[in-house]
């Protein structure tokens, strides 16, 4: 296998440059003054380091009120959507994995089929439904829409995890007189924790990246997430690209930290969510 080494090294180097360079470039640009960023040829290091882009995002008299509100909205919407999705998906996937009931396989496949529904299928009707129930510009509206979109994937990831757990443990508990709900809470949940973590992380990341649904469902900064805030900023022609890059860098801090520390859950979730 030694002869593969050179090619392998080249590919590893390529993967690192391919994935990291654009992010490095944004960081580099965000730490430059406008004049320094507009030089030919481009400067590969941000010297002298210039912090004004970040300062205007963090200064109360400048962008901080709008930026912090958008950040808060993103966090609220992502956390709420993740929590609701996980609770609903845990209950349902346990039923599908362990209990017997009529129409089980029909319902199961119908739910799975919605996994392949494109955004087109639901975008306009969901806007009209939310509008009808006065849920445009509310966290509830955004969270309901996110949850309905991410549920099938989470359910599928958890289902695939539940069915790998040996039945003996539950059966022992049933013999001791435990009820199905007790078995779910006390035996299945702790054992399924890695699967639940995967589903939660993937749901959170997908929610963090959302743009078109919040673009349609939110029209002012009371509920607009970071992605919508950033395109609004892009529309103001007074905002220089160095500042746009600084905003971009701040918008990816949370996803980057999650990938660095929890990547194995992401990979196992992606695999549980798509294989078969």
């Amino acid at each position: 296998m030694k002869r593969y080494n050179l090619g392998q090294k080249a590919i590893i180097a390529f993967v690192c440059v391919w994935s990291l360079f654009p992010i490095y470039w944004a960081l580099n640009t965000s730490l430059m003054s406008n004049e320094n960023a507009q030089s030919r040829p481009a400067h590969f290091f941000p010297f002298p380091v210039y912090l004004s882009n970040y300062k205007s995002l963090f200064s109360a008299s400048d962008l901080w009120p709008d930026f912090s509100r958008a950040l808060l909205n993103t966090v609220i919407e992502c956390v709420a959507a993740t929590v609701v999705t996980i609770i609903v998906a845990v209950l349902a996937s346990y039923a599908f994995a362990r209990l017997q009931f009529r129409f089980k396989s029909t319902i199961f496949y119908v739910v799975l089929a919605t996994l392949s529904l494109p955004i087109y299928a639901t975008l306009i009707p969901l806007y009209q439904i939310m509008n009808q129930f006065h849920l445009v510009n509310t966290y509830t509206g955004v969270v309901l829409v996110y949850t309905s979109g991410f549920l099938p994937l989470s359910m599928w990831i958890m289902y695939n995890y539940f069915i790998t757990i040996p039945r003996e443990l539950e059966e022992a508990a049933f013999v001791d007189g435990a009820t199905p709900v007790a078995v779910l809470l006390r035996i299945m949940l702790p054992l399924a924790l890695p699967g639940i973590t995967s589903a939660a992380i993937i749901t959170f990341l997908l929610a963090w990246a959302q743009f078109i649904f919040p673009l349609v469902l939110t029209s002012d900064n009371s509920t607009q997430p970071l992605t919508v805030f950033m395109t609004g900023l892009l529309g103001r022609h007074t905002v220089p690209f160095t500042l746009m890059n600084a905003t971009g860098i701040l918008s990816i801090v949370v996803p980057v930290v999650i990938v660095i520390f929890l990547n194995r859950y992401i990979i196992s979730g992606i695999l549980a969510g798509s294989i078969k």
Binding site: R40, P118, Y120, S148, V181, M230, I270
Partner: protein, 305 residues
């Protein structure tokens, strides 16, 4: 008091074993409410309302037959958006699958630091498309972008180029490249998992038979990872058919590289012609379903070891 005894108090019927007939339905009820009310019902609405004139400014909605569809087909901007999206999809699926295949083969065997490299690989997948559009817009900048700067320093171009908003095909390629950056990790992970499921003794047998590297790759590896590639192709197809964020940021107000999703958004939420938006959406749903079924049929054959 434990959660379980609390639940027993609140819901006595739920926790007794006799309730087991009802229990499964109670457990799946929230899921069914979400999926039924906010996924299946909206999809049906999209189909039905595509035959109506729906305009929030001049209600009520009225039946229009195929008028929304015929209006769309006589609109050149709409037709171009379909052509553009076909190009986005073809470029996106081909390039991302090939890149993912190369990446997966390179990361297949164990090496020190592999977990770190896998995290680096996954990174672009986890970032919002909008942020990626902003990052790459500056990379592509016609006056100060690093792409121009590097190519110019290497004497590959004689002057700085306008990569987007000039030539249609070039605009589409460079916008799609941003989406490729985002979705390739997903394909690479799927293909990598298929690679790792191949029994290694097959390679020992091939080596004994004197098979070369290329022959081993072509005769053993590629056929066995066909399912992984099939899923990667289907996923990247669906993602690129829905391209929106990258076009929204990079293409701006120009219609050169407009996509079906962007056109649907403009027709619906800018022009407020909801009926035509529904018709456009329903066509996209149909295309998604037909192509997915076709792709799965063509590439997804059962693999036996």
């Amino acid at each position: 008091m434990s959660v379980e005894s609390k639940m027993r108090k609140i819901l006595p019927g739920l926790t007794s074993r006799r309730s087991s007939v009802l229990l499964p339905y109670l457990l799946i009820a929230p899921l069914l409410l979400f999926i039924g009310g906010l996924a299946i019902y909206p999809t049906v609405l999209t189909f039905v309302k595509s035959f109506f004139i729906v305009n929030p400014i001049s209600p009520p909605q009225r039946f229009a037959g195929l008028a929304n569809y015929t209006a769309l087909f006589s609109d050149t901007e709409v037709i171009w958006s379909w052509v553009n999206t076909a190009l986005y999809v073809v470029i996106g699926v081909l390039v991302s699958t090939l890149l993912a295949l190369v990446m997966a083969i390179g990361l297949w065997k164990q090496f020190p630091g592999r977990a770190v490299v896998l995290a680096i690989l996954v990174l672009p997948w986890a970032l919002p498309g909008i942020t990626e559009g902003i990052i790459w817009a500056w990379i592509y900048d016609p006056s100060f972008g690093v792409l121009n700067s590097v190519l110019h320093s290497l004497h590959l171009i004689s002057h700085y180029h306008l990569w987007i908003s000039g030539n249609r095909l070039a605009s589409i390629f460079f916008i799609e490249l941003v989406q490729i950056w985002q979705m390739t990790p997903l394909s690479a992970i799927l293909i990598l998992a298929s690679l790792q499921s191949i029994p290694l003794d097959l390679y020992d047998a091939a080596a004994v038979d004197g098979a070369g590297r290329w022959e081993t790759l072509r005769r053993i590896t590629l056929p066995l990872i066909r399912p992984g590639i099939a899923i990667a192709v289907v996923e990247s197809f669906i993602i690129s058919l829905n391209i929106f964020d990258q076009v929204y940021v990079l293409n701006g107000s120009s219609t050169t590289a407009s996509s079906v999703m962007l056109e649907t958004y403009n027709i619906t939420f800018q022009t407020l012609n909801f009926g035509q938006g529904y018709a456009m959406s329903f066509m996209a749903v149909l295309v998604t379903m037909l192509v997915c079924l076709g792709l799965l049929k063509v590439i997804y054959r059962k693999v036996e070891f």
